[in-house]
Structure formats: C-alpha cells, structure tokens
C-alpha cells in the first residue's frame, strides 16, 4: 500500500495538467486492482489490506479520476484548477491511507484529514451564500462526533498491546462508553438519520466534484470504520443492536419519505444517500457475515451510483443553470441520449436487477429478517420508497412537456458519456465479482 501513497504524493506534480492527471489516476486504479492477489495473507504492520480495503481504495481512485473529468468547467473558467486538483489529490492520498492502514491511529488521522480538502472544496468552489453554513455543518458535525473516537482509540491503545485492528478478532471490550465513543463518529459520517443534517446541505452547496467524492467515498469511510471496530466491540454490540437497528431502519424510511418531497434534484439524491447508508448500518449491526457482505456490496455500488447521479445533475445544471425540479422537465425529448443514463442510474439506485445494489439489498433482507422478522415491514418500506423517489426523479426530469424557455440545450458530449460509462461499467462488471466473493 505504501507504494500507492508515494504515487499519490507524486501526483501533486501533475496538478496543472488535467488530462494527464485523470489518465494517470485511471491507470493507478487498475494497478491497485491488479495488486489484489495477496490480500488474504496479510502482512503484519502499518499497511495491510483485505478485500474491503482494496475495493474501497479502488473506488476512491476511480471516483477521484471521474470527478476531475467532470470538473472541466473549473479548468476552462480558470477557477484555480491547480488548487482544485491539488486538493483532490490530497484527498485521495488521505483516503488511500485511511483505507489501506490497519493501525487505528493512522486511520483516525487520515479520517480527519480528509475533512480539510472537502471543506475547502465546498467553501471555495461552492455556489451560494448557504455554502458557508453547509461546510461549517459538515466540518463541525464530523469533528464533534469524532473527538470521542480519538479518546477511545487512545484508551484502547493504552489497554491493548497495539492499535492494529487485525488483533481485534476477539471481542474484548465491555465498556459502554468505549462503544459509543468509537461508534458515534462513524454514525455521523455514515450518516445515520439523526446525525444526517449536514449531508443535504453539504451536497447541495458543493460543486459537482465535491458531491461526487463526498457521496462516493467519504460516506463509505463511516461504514468502513464500523466494519473495522465492531469485532472489538462485539459484546456491547449485541446489547445495543436493537437501538442501532431501529435507528437505522426507521431513519432510512424517514429519509426516503423526505426524499420524495424535495424540489432540488441534488437534495433528492443527497437524501437517497442517507437512505442507502441506513441500509449499510443495518447490515453491519447484525454482526453476521452476510450482513457485512451486504453492507460492503451496497457501499461499493452506492458509491458508483450516487456519484453517477450527482454527475448527471451537474451536467444538467451546467446547461440549464437550475437544479429545480419545477423547471427541469422533458429531458427525454431535449436530450434523449442522456435519458438512457438517467434511466440506468435511476433504476440502479432503486436496486433493480441486475445491479449489485440488488445483490446487497437481498443480502440485507435475508439478514434483517433473520435478526427479527418484523423488519420486513420497514426494510420493505425502505425499498419501496427507494423505488418511489427514483421513479419520481426520473419521471419529473425526463417526462412532461419540455420547457421551451430552456429547451435549447445540447445532448451530452463525449467526455460526459465517458464519465457516466465509467460509473456504470464497474457497476455491471463488479456484480459477478462481488457475488462470487461474498456468497
């Protein structure tokens, strides 16, 4: 993994050169993927990766490449593209470090360090005055919740031999305080329903690239952290599982209900992220293999799907100048080729076959029903509402008569097709891969 960190550092030299940087990142993602042979054996030390780390690392490099590809307007309008790409590369560095390390302190440092680039991205390139409150919400929610995480890590460090979580196979902790200290940060990052307020604000105010990396990868940090620390906290987990399960499931249903009421399409996709991450929490809390597998599959596929939806919204915003669902209508006649992508991403988001979203949701249904059969109602409702809001998004934007005042718009350019294809491609290709490894 260290070699990838060195590569990421070297990418700083490419900050001015957009195309080279993007292609380099895509190549790196393949190199990362190809070095996946040795993961199950593991090397004791700072850097150790297993399948989850590899997948999320791949996702971060991939999404970084795509977000830079999407942000051509930053380069063209000379809105400090060097700083922009520098921040993205810096974010990538810390993301790779956080996904690649097995040491909790290094994980915490890089976890916190990713906040700075995203904060600067939202504040620096965001649109409206509301971005001020949006980025402050983002920063302070995460910081406040992760301070207990730091204390817990230090306590664990003083208790245990080392902070390497590969040593945490046995459930050792019996302290409630420690449990909540460690879990709270990830819950807010995930985000779970009651700590989700920062997410719609940050997404709406962020530039397209910021939204992509935020929804695509940064939310997965929360899920990843939970997967890593739950083995240590297993005993407390079984005690608090009912609370966490109910918060996640009911919160997900509420988030998806709020989703349908949104009038800003970016806000709609942001709330759908909350609903999907609720499913992730659901899977992880059940403490079963299939649950974690389902959570991981949903994390990967949601990363790609959500990022793709944000790109689509960004492309429409670039053309029409508005994100309001009242004004965006009739795209199926104005830009029919984009309708194909809208359709594919909408149905993927609602977990239609044959997307890996469906695979993850099936695993989670099995696991949640096994946990308590009453969850069939809520998880079923969550899934149903997912269909509802995705259908709503698709129908509102695509169907309906075209608004003639905004009808002079062009269909997607090659670059935009590439961005969306690169989102969708791994999606389809990962399905057999994931079902094989997590079956």
């Amino acid at each position: 993994m260290l070699k990838f960190l060195f590569i990421a550092v070297s990418l700083f030299s490419l900050t001015g050169h957009w195309g080279v940087l993007i292609s380099f990142l895509l190549v790196i993602s393949f190199v990362w993927g190809l070095s996946m042979e040795n993961f199950n054996l593991g090397i004791v030390g700072l850097a150790q990766l297993d399948l989850l780390s590899y997948l999320l690392g791949f996702l971060s490099v991939w999404i970084t490449a795509l977000m830079l590809m999407m942000s051509l307007s930053v380069k063209v309008s000379k809105n400090f593209p060097a700083v922009f790409s520098g921040l993205s590369v810096g974010m990538l560095f810390f993301l790779l470090m956080s996904f690649g390390t097995s040491d909790l302190i290094i994980f915490y440092i890089s976890f916190e360090a990713t906040l700075i680039p995203i904060f600067l991205l939202v504040m620096g390139w965001g649109y409206q005055p509301e971005r001020v409150s949006a980025s402050l919400y983002l920063l302070f929610y995460t910081l406040a919740a992760s301070l207990p995480l730091l204390l817990s890590i230090l306590w664990v460090g003083s208790e245990e031999m080392s902070l390497d979580y590969t040593f945490f196979w046995k459930a050792r902790s019996t302290s409630v305080l420690l449990f909540w200290g460690m879990v709270l940060a990830f819950l807010v990052k995930l985000p779970v329903y009651f700590g989700h307020v920062w997410l719609p604000k940050a997404h709406v105010e962020a530039p397209v690239a910021g939204s992509m990396i935020l929804a695509g990868v940064l939310l997965k940090l929360g899920g990843y952290g939970l997967v890593r620390v739950f083995p240590y906290l297993e005993s407390k987990l079984s005690e608090s599982s009912s609370l966490l399960m109910s918060v996640s499931v009911v919160g997900g249903v509420l988030a998806s209900l709020i989703c349908i009421r949104q009038t800003d399409c970016k806000s709609l996709v942001a709330y759908s992220s909350v609903a999907h991450m609720a499913l992730v929490l659901l899977g992880v809390v059940t403490n079963t293999f299939l649950g974690v597998a389902g959570a991981v599959v949903i994390m990967i596929s949601h990363g790609l799907c959500s990022s793709g939806l944000f790109s689509l919204v960004g492309m429409i915003y670039e053309r029409l100048g508005t994100r309001s669902l009242v004004l965006i209508r009739g795209l199926i006649s104005m830009a029919p080729i984009s309708s194909m992508w809208w359709f594919l991403f909408s149905v993927s988001n609602m977990a239609a076959p044959p997307t890996p979203n469906l695979l993850g949701e099936i695993y989670l249904f099995i696991v949640s029903l096994g946990w308590w059969s009453g969850t069939v109602l809520l998880v079923g409702l969550l899934s149903f509402m997912a269909g509802a809001y995705n259908l709503y998004l698709f129908i509102t934007t695509q169907h309906g008569g075209e608004i003639s005042s905004l009808s002079l718009m062009s269909d997607f350019s090659f670059r935009e097709h590439i961005v969306l294809f690169f989102h969708m491609g791994p999606f389809i290709l990962l399905f057999p891969f994931l079902s094989h490894f997590f079956s």
């Binding site: 309008s77 000379k78 809105n79 400090f80 700083v83 922009f84 904060f119 600067l120 991205l121 504040m123 620096g124 390139w125 649109y127 409206q128 005055p129 001020v132 980025s135 009038t263 800003d264 806000s267 053309r319 029409l320 100048g321 508005t322 309001s324 669902l325 009242v326 004004l327 209508r329 009739g330 199926i332 006649s333 104005m334 830009a335 029919p336 080729i337 309708s339 169907h399 008569g401 075209e402 608004i403 003639s404 005042s405 905004l406 009808s407 002079l408 718009m409 062009s410 269909d411």
Partner: protein
C-alpha cells in the same frame, strides 16, 4: 410520451420535411404558437419553438442571428483558500466589502428585473408554484421607495372595455383577483392589502363616428362575461344628469368589475407576500448581462447543431457602486418604462437576425391633475372617458376629481424628469372636461403629478412572452397605461409560461415578442 423520442430518432425520408414536427400525430405541447418548426437546412439559424415565421418574412430572417458582445465578466474568481478563510472570519474581518460580498445572493433560478407591480406579481405567482426552494426567485429593483415607478403614479383604473379579447379576459381576472386580494395575499404574520376598490365603473362616450366601434366592442365584451351596458344619449342624461351629452351618440358603462383601486396597496400586497414566500429583493441597478456559448440541437439526436449565446448572468450595481453578478436560468424583464433600455443590455435590438428588432418600449410622460369642483358630479361619477380622449374621475369624498389626457403625437412631453406642465391642463384637459361636465367650469386646481407609461411604440399593448433567440428571457412590459389592471393576470401568465411551458388560463399568444419581429401589430381601439 415515448413516441416522441422514438420518432425523433427513426427518421424516415418522407418525414424529413422542413416542418418536421407537423407530421407527428399526437398534439405537440407547444409554446406560444401552434407548431414548433425546426429547419434542417444548414444555413438557417436555429429557430426557437416560439417563433412562427410566416413565409413572407423568410427572406428577411434568413440572415444569421448574431448576439452582440455583451458585458464582460467583472471580477476574477476569488482564491478558494482566501474565500474559505474570509468566510470563517480569519481574514477579511475588517473589510466590509468581503462581508457584503459573502451574503449576496449569486445564484437563482429566476431573476426578475424590476420590482414594480409586474415584477412583484410575477414573483408572487412563481412562488405559488414553487414553495420555499422549489424556485429561487430574485427581484432586482433599483428604487424600493418607488419614487419614479409607474405603478405608484398610476391612476389605478380597472376596466373591461377593450376591443381585444385578451385584454378583456386579463382585466376580468384582475377584477376577480382584487376581489380576493386580501385573502390571497395574506399570510401567517401578514395581513392582506386593502386595495380600496371603488366599483364605480368606466363610462366611454362615443360620437357618431365611433358608435359602430363601440357597439362591436360591446358585443365582444359581453360575450366574454363583462357586464357593460350601452346607453343612448337620452338614457345617459337620465342616468348621469350632470353630463352634457352634446356630440355623444352612444356611451358604454361598466356595471361590475370596473372602477379604480389603490395601486400602492396592491404593490405592497404582492411584495410582502412574495417576501413571505421567500423571494429575495435586491436593491440594485441592472448594468449588463453575460452570455455563454452553448450548443443547441435543432432536433435532439439527429438535427443540426450550432452554438448560440445563452444569457447566464446579470450584472447589477448596488448603491455603493459595487457591481455584483447573479446567475440565473430564466430572466424576466418587467422593468416598466425602462424596459427598452435594459433589454438592449441583453442584445435585443443590437444584433442581427432575430435580435435585430429592439423591444419597442419607451417611457412617455403623462400628467394627472387633481382639482376641487364644488359643483361637480358628486359621488355618482364613474371614470369617464370623453370623446376627445380626456378622462376624469372622482377622488375621495370631498369633491375632488382627477383628470388627464393622452397628448397627441406632436405634443409629447419630454421624459427627462417628472415635472408637471400646468399649461397642458389649462389648454387641453380643462376645456374638454368642462365642456362635458358643466359643473367643472368652476374648479380650483389643487395639485398634479406625472408618471411614465411603459409605452409600446409598436401597438400600445403589452409584450408578454419570451424572446425567440434568448429563449430564457421573458418580457412582461409595454402595457402603455393599462398595465396596472392586468398585473395579476400577466403575473399568472408568465408563471404558466415558465412552469408549464404554455398559457393555461388566458391565451396570450398574440402578445408575444414575435409580433414585433414579424411586424404584426395587435391594436387596441380604446386607449386612455
């Protein structure tokens, strides 16, 4: 619904006619006119859906539409690190400019230039469709005290006695709205306005020459639901004994939904309700527009593509001289008398092709005189429009009346300021009204004011609709003196155009901007 996309892609040779969309069997939801026309010829400019270009203007309009260069981007991007630190208050703490810059609204969905009755009405109706953040609306008004705005200097008349069905329908809607204004414009902490509608009607007097036109107009008005009654000279004398019916052949009197109201109250009603619904009012002057080169397809997927200049951003200058930008998706031009000038900033009238014709709206000064007449008509006095064009109405309960007249073409007063010319009253207005009402011989002129008409030099009727090239630029101006009564209807019409893409309630296709390009004026017979 799916047919449209499919038909557009499977292009059979016999379908490849010039007017492609005509061949589709299901109704195409059109914009202003019945059909969308897209040409597949290489040299023709991209024709927007809203332009119905008749054959006799093809040659003229075959010239390529070019937008003139508009305002330049005024400020370079602020460095993101500095921008973030400013926000956090770490830097720029002592710089008031930074602070003001931070909270200035820079993005919106719809920007409305002009905060008079039209602008506020449009803002109100738009927010009715998009609550809270559904539609972000910003109204740019340079003078929130409305010292020179036509709205507040208006006489506030409301009549259905027009000769165009659209005007009649809009006034009927206006009357209905005014009736319910207090309820519709009230909110949680907001009391609706009391528009003080005086339902005393309009009285139009016609000579022998004009009687036929009056009868024709009357038929149309009745058919659309207006309550107008025709009076012969004798009947008129019976109804209004104070009137001198010499020279009057026929008169028409509105018995319901006609009269006058307080435009200030309506303006404040719309404005306050709009603010409550979330509209942002910016006190600034419009100084420029920015465009961006965008690609457009004449038929998505198969047609020719070209680049055009899309209006993306407006430059506004604040009171302290700072120029800021507002990004928008749609711009509504409701700037009243100054609309012609401001439209030039968008390139309308400054370019070639579809941008050749400017918006023909200019300010025209009109005087209103207030006098006291102890022997006047008393309470039973409608807004009487004389055969000469002079008009008068009662004002208040103390025997005051206000009167005015549209000057003839060669007597147009200068528009440099709003000073009143009292000789116009002595020479033009008073003789007419004194002849018509003998009781007005003995009067004392108390005061006078003047205001600008947003005068449409083309056909003296409103321009309502979007521009064929700048499809995201809507006009709601040029009402030439009868705008105040049509404000609720125009606001609703613009809202329907923007949100639904077509006129739903009242069909105002004929009032679009296209008629200025194709030179098809829509004249009104009675103009006060």
């Amino acid at each position: 619904m799916f047919n449209r996309a499919i038909t557009g892609v499977q292009l059979k040779p016999w379908v490849q006619s010039k007017y492609l969309v005509q061949n589709l069997s299901f109704p195409v939801r059109s914009f202003c006119n019945g059909e969308k026309k897209f040409s597949s010829k290489k040299d023709e400019p991209v024709e927007s859906p809203s332009s119905l270009i008749p054959k006799d203007f093809q040659a003229e309009l075959n010239e390529e539409t070019r937008c003139p260069p508009l305002a330049q981007p005024i400020e370079p991007f602020l460095h993101p690190i500095k921008r973030s630190l400013d926000v956090l208050g770490i830097t720029g703490r002592n710089d008031p400019k930074t602070h003001n810059n931070l909270y200035f609204p820079r993005h919106c969905d719809i920007v409305i230039i002009g905060g008079g009755i039209m602008g506020c009405s449009i803002a109100y109706w738009l927010k009715q469709r998009g609550h809270d953040n559904g539609l972000r609306v910003i109204v740019v008004e340079r003078d929130p005290s409305y010292t020179r705005a036509s709205t507040v200097l208006s006489v506030g008349g409301l009549r259905q006695q027009f000769s165009l069905p659209e005007n009649i329908q809009m006034s009927l809607f206006g009357a209905e709205f005014l009736r319910n204004a207090k309820k519709m414009l009230s909110g949680e902490n907001l009391e609706g306005p009391d528009v003080q509608f005086h339902p005393h009607g309009y009285l139009f007097l016609a000579t022998e020459k004009g009687a036929d036109q009056l009868i024709e107009n009357h038929k149309l008005q009745i058919s659309l639901g207006a309550k107008i009654k025709l009076f012969s000279a004798n009947k008129l004398k019976q109804k209004f004994p104070w009137i001198n019916t010499s020279g009057v052949e026929l008169a028409s009197f509105g018995q319901e939904n006609e009269g006058w109201f307080d435009p200030w109250a309506l303006l404040n009603g719309f404005r306050n309700k709009a603010i409550e619904l979330g509209v942002t009012f910016v006190k600034a002057d419009t100084v420029g527009f920015e465009t961006e080169d965008m690609m457009a397809h004449s038929k998505p997927g198969v047609g020719e593509s070209c680049t055009y200049n899309k209006l993306r951003r407006v430059h506004v200058r604040l009171a302290d001289g700072d120029v800021r930008t507002i990004d928008f998706a749609i711009c509504v031009m409701a700037a009243g008398a100054q609309s012609g000038e401001v439209s030039k900033l968008t390139g309308v009238g400054m370019g070639t092709g579809l941008l050749r014709k400017a918006l023909p709206v200019e300010p025209r000064k009109r005087y209103v005189y207030c006098f006291h007449a102890p022997d006047g008509p008393g309470l039973d006095c409608p807004l009487t429009v004389d055969t000469t064009g002079s008009y008068f109405r009662r004002e208040g309960l103390g025997g005051h009346y206000i009167a005015g007249k549209s000057p003839s073409a060669n007597e147009e007063p200068g528009i440099a300021n709003l000073d009143v010319d009292y000789t116009f009253f002595d020479q033009q207005v008073w003789p007419d009204v004194a002849h018509r009402v003998p009781g007005f011989e003995n009067i004392k002129l108390k005061s006078a004011w003047s205001g600008y008409y947003d005068y449409n030099t083309f056909d003296q009727n409103g321009v309502i609709g979007n521009h064929p090239y700048h499809t995201n630029l809507f006009f709601a101006t040029g009402f030439s003196g009868h705008g105040i009564q049509q404000a609720p209807a125009v606001g609703r019409a613009i809202m329907e155009l923007i949100v639904d893409g077509r006129f739903v309630d009242i069909d105002l296709k004929r009032f679009g901007f296209d008629r200025i390009i194709t030179n098809r004026p829509v004249f009104e017979q009675n103009i006060v």
